[in-house]
Symmetry: C2
Subunit: 444 residues, 2 copies
Amino acid sequence: MTKEIQVNLNHIAPVVSETAVTALMPEVADALSKIHNATGAGNDFLGWVDLPTRTPASLVDEINATAADLSNQCDVVVAIGIGGSYLGAKAVIEALGDSFAEAKPGAPRVVFAGQNIGEDYLFELQEYLRGKRFGIIVISESGTTTEPAIAFRLLKAQLEEQVGKERAKDLIVAITDAHRGALRQLATEEGYRTFVIEDSVGGRFSVLSPVGLLPIAVAGFDIKALLAGAAQMQRATINANATNQAALYAAARNALYRAGKKIEILVNYNPKLHYFGEWWKQLYGESEGKDHRGIFPAAVDNSTDLHSMGQWIQDGERTIFETVLTVGKVHHSVTIPTDEANLDGLNYIAGKHVDEVNKMAELGTRLAHVDGGVPNIVITVPELNENYLGQLIYFFEKACGISGYMLGVNPFNQPGVEAYKKNMFALLEKPGYEAETEAIKKRL
Amino acid sequence: MTKEIQVNLNHIAPVVSETAVTALMPEVADALSKIHNATGAGNDFLGWVDLPTRTPASLVDEINATAADLSNQCDVVVAIGIGGSYLGAKAVIEALGDSFAEAKPGAPRVVFAGQNIGEDYLFELQEYLRGKRFGIIVISESGTTTEPAIAFRLLKAQLEEQVGKERAKDLIVAITDAHRGALRQLATEEGYRTFVIEDSVGGRFSVLSPVGLLPIAVAGFDIKALLAGAAQMQRATINANATNQAALYAAARNALYRAGKKIEILVNYNPKLHYFGEWWKQLYGESEGKDHRGIFPAAVDNSTDLHSMGQWIQDGERTIFETVLTVGKVHHSVTIPTDEANLDGLNYIAGKHVDEVNKMAELGTRLAHVDGGVPNIVITVPELNENYLGQLIYFFEKACGISGYMLGVNPFNQPGVEAYKKNMFALLEKPGYEAETEAIKKRL
């Protein structure tokens, strides 16, 4: 059994005492009960709760086999999806990948589409794919969400043109509803391989389902270890007590919010975690930002952003707290060389590993921010690998469910996302939106 | 004379009326007077104000010639810098570059270093550069800032090892103080080509100086047009009246802040503007986040983030406003194909350009957000090219100076950035920090 990621609340005083956090444990217990007994709002979206332990080995094998087949046939695989059908895979692939290489040796490059409506983006993607051996993973429960549907129409046509319709169907994998919807129907008619999006697993909780697992496996990473880490965290976050790290985090952030800390900044000191921050923002923002409440989630990449948002964090309005992801060890070794002239004055750290300096930047920053009135929650991740990322993903999902119930919202819906879509359909005169079209035209 | 970017305040009511914005014009006039007459706090950092019009053509020619020379000799150029010595160039290069190609045809790939202390990042960069024809632009006023100094030590040693010390000096360009500092001294001793960082141009206002211009020129973009756009905006933002777009924006955002809108979200509908958002966050966060006040700057990339932060923006705490960058026209043409089966139901938009759909997503979102209680400032940029980016950069810089003075802070310092550095030096036992080292060790 590997170590677990740990939450440290030593640095949230004096705003919130540990006693105050402990005092919230009855609320945590209530929230956990709602999650485990499906008695809270949104209880038809709890499929993620035991996903790590109930995912059959046969499904993992099938995903890996499909990934291996795509790898053999493709130099590039386009993952088409938006929201949770994009950010989870993107976050894991960026966290585990090389900063400069396009792909892991032996694996295809995974690029993303359908996460925007950029005409130039799609044009440039099509140019990039021209003549290349590429495949498509299309991810959509309905098959009709505008952004991925546009991208898939374009890229499906391009693939069929490049390799012929017969061969194209072997290069397209659909991840969609088990029975219903446009993409399921198309996949059946065309004979695509498919994986299932369960009704009970919402988009932002789907990275540990085939939605995230297939693109991650295609990129060459170990999804068994990812699930094993998540399963370990699933088992460790059942009880409402101080050993449940997700409970501690959920309680602490609610206590801070109630004390007037309105913005939570997820902080990393590793550029590979940038998209993990983006995934986390969706998870928390979409789960909690409703009924005119919820912590505003933001993220920074340090030390880069110490020379950007750092000033605001140190000295701006005292309405923020930070949650710091501290990664124990790095994978490679670079030591700072000695320089005879020493004009830059760095010889005092010559011979040190770069990460030793990074760790002192991190510790120095935490002290400075706490001194400046910014409470810090610290989450220790021993290393960036599949196992710990699996732990971290499940940790944040579980804490999000708890936290949302403590806030008093339904953490599993997203009614606000429909507002722009309704207007967009009205403006585009979509069939069925005639009344809305008339109303919006009058308004403009 | 090209068109100018325009600010539209029609959508900030009912929170703030246009009359309320106009009522702030005396404050704007006072702030503009401080900027133009150098009578406000930080008045030794106003070199950016007339930078576009006073930059001599000879300097631009010299930058372009240096860029052409690096282009001829290198396949990759590493720009080493942090904060303003990183974000401006990165923002412009991303805005103008291809989404998938590594570089513009005929130009080297520009990669960045010294903007973090990532041991894995630096290891992977060094692996990537091994055997490649690469050059270095090192940007630091002092030459001793920890992050870029570490990166430069490592990459200078690597370059000298790969091509020899004699040849390496022709592949390194230093942008630094005119007379003082470690990097100036090193450049003189080694015989590097250099460009000057003026004392009066602070990092976050430096993108239109050689700091930003050289990497942008190396990447193959037209810095003359960038400066011309900025110069046009410089001339258009002198007077405190309603034709001064920077004045309008500064007044509106201060009015919204005073009305309780604590978070400003810069919104784009073009993935290429992601780093422009990062540049903007530094500009405003570092200029205004002090004395326990200042708007918290955040940014989203839509429609991607409509499926992430969109829920929070639509329904979360009503303490936010948005500033929407709307880009008039795209560069390429992609139309949505017709599909006979029409399972995805998209045939109602078949034949349309992708950007037409994007524009309806944008308009639909703005209406939905305004309806949801989120005031929207809209900034119209006719097209993403060098000229309009130059306009936009100067527009935001000028508005930032005005806005900071209206807020009552010194917009041109960043005292909070020193706090983490002091602790880091103490923890690393830097010579000269003996007392701080002793104090911080006692504390831990």
